[in-house]
């Protein structure tokens, strides 16, 4: 291979890139036993994405001071319930947090 990399700290970059696990394409495993789990992962990832966006939106509104006391309380309780539901669903499908890989780009990792 042609020499085309320059860095003082190759080890550090390898560590970080391995953490991201992004260098190999993600695909749904075609193994029939795993198809169900793969689809569950997909659906739950979507739901979790929406849940996080809702939470972020709520935070912005809290920050802006445009919510009443009762609204804050209600939103808090709703978000709590949403999260409990997600935990339940993850439990049913045997999925852990790390398995829902949500890399939201500019939003960073909200976990």
């Amino acid at each position: 291979m042609h020499k085309r990399i320059e860095t003082d700290s190759p080890g550090v970059f390898i560590e970080e890139l391995k953490k991201i696990d992004d260098t190999l394409p993600k695909r749904i495993d075609a193994n029939p036993q795993n198809v169900e789990k793969g689809l569950a992962k997909l659906v739950l990832t979507l739901i979790e994405l929406i849940r996080r966006l809702l939470e972020r939106q709520a935070m912005r509104r809290v920050e802006s001071g445009s919510l009443t006391d009762e609204e804050v309380e209600r939103i808090g309780e709703t978000l709590m319930k949403l999260e409990d539901k997600m935990q339940e669903l993850k439990g049913i499908f045997g999925l852990k947090d790390e398995e829902l890989n949500l890399s939201l780009g500019p939003l960073g990792d909200l976990m």
Partner: protein, 241 residues
């Protein structure tokens, strides 16, 4: 014998160099109107697909980029026969022409930056003023407690991301004069501040390299990685289906 596709080039001539591809097969150019499809023949049973084959594939592309404008094709693009390849290419022709025109004489470079994200987040956390919540979440109740905790987390994350944006802007700015296009991936992880792909005209590559030298002396505890030149993998505008 299958047909393995490496790249699309802006020439319908035979290639002069003798290039070996996967399975040491000869690489040749299938002309199609004003472009060429760089292929080699591959055995029916692909026994040995591995990282080494991916590197061989990249080797073919790198050799060609010296002489042609090319669109690199993703690894493992196979067709049963040339006719199949040609009938599929028909639908992509105008997109290929547009991309080739846009990418003529341009090469890709990669810049990665690692910063001490953990330390920075900790600093922001420690500086977070206690009980700095909007009035509406005063008083205790389950919903409000939940919101308080999440709000603190939100503010810290926001502070962290703002800091990242500031640093990224400084870094990106160093290269802005010598690049024609860019793709920036921000904060792919806590510590990987920036993963940038830059498209640079061949004649400007020295300017670009000089900018990297400047970058190395920018932030004290950041780590930098420079890679390239590459064919324009990250700058192909795909066909909109």
């Amino acid at each position: 014998m299958r047909v393995y596709l490496y790249a699309i080039i802006d020439s319908n001539d035979k290639i002069r160099k003798a290039i070996k591809g996967l399975e040491k097969a000869s690489v040749y150019n299938i002309p199609y109107r004003d472009i060429g499809l760089i292929v080699s023949k591959l055995n029916g049973q692909v026994q040995d697909i591995s990282i080494d084959r991916a590197i061989e594939h990249e080797g073919v592309v790198e050799t060609l980029m010296e002489d042609f404008t090319l669109l690199p094709v993703r690894f493992l693009t196979l067709f049963d026969k040339e006719e199949d390849l040609l009938s599929v290419i028909k639908g992509y022709y105008s997109d290929f022409i547009e991309n080739l025109d846009r990418l003529r004489n341009k090469i890709e470079f990669g810049i990665k930056v690692i910063w001490p994200g953990n330390t920075i987040r900790e600093r922001i956390m420690n500086n977070y003023p206690k009980d700095d919540y909007p009035a509406s979440i005063s008083g205790d109740s389950p919903g409000k407690d939940f919101i308080k905790a999440r709000f603190k987390r939100y503010k810290i994350t926001k502070g962290f991301e703002d800091e990242a944006e500031r640093c990224i802007a400084v870094i990106d700015n160093l290269f802005s004069l010598s690049v024609t296009e860019k793709r920036l991936e921000r904060l792919k992880s806590e510590n990987l501040l920036l993963n940038a792909y830059y498209l640079v005209e061949k004649e400007r590559q020295d300017d670009f390299r000089r900018s990297f030298e400047q970058l190395k002396s920018s932030f004290n505890d950041f780590k930098y990685l420079f890679s390239g030149p590459w064919p324009p993998y990250n700058f192909i505008i795909p066909k909109v289906i």
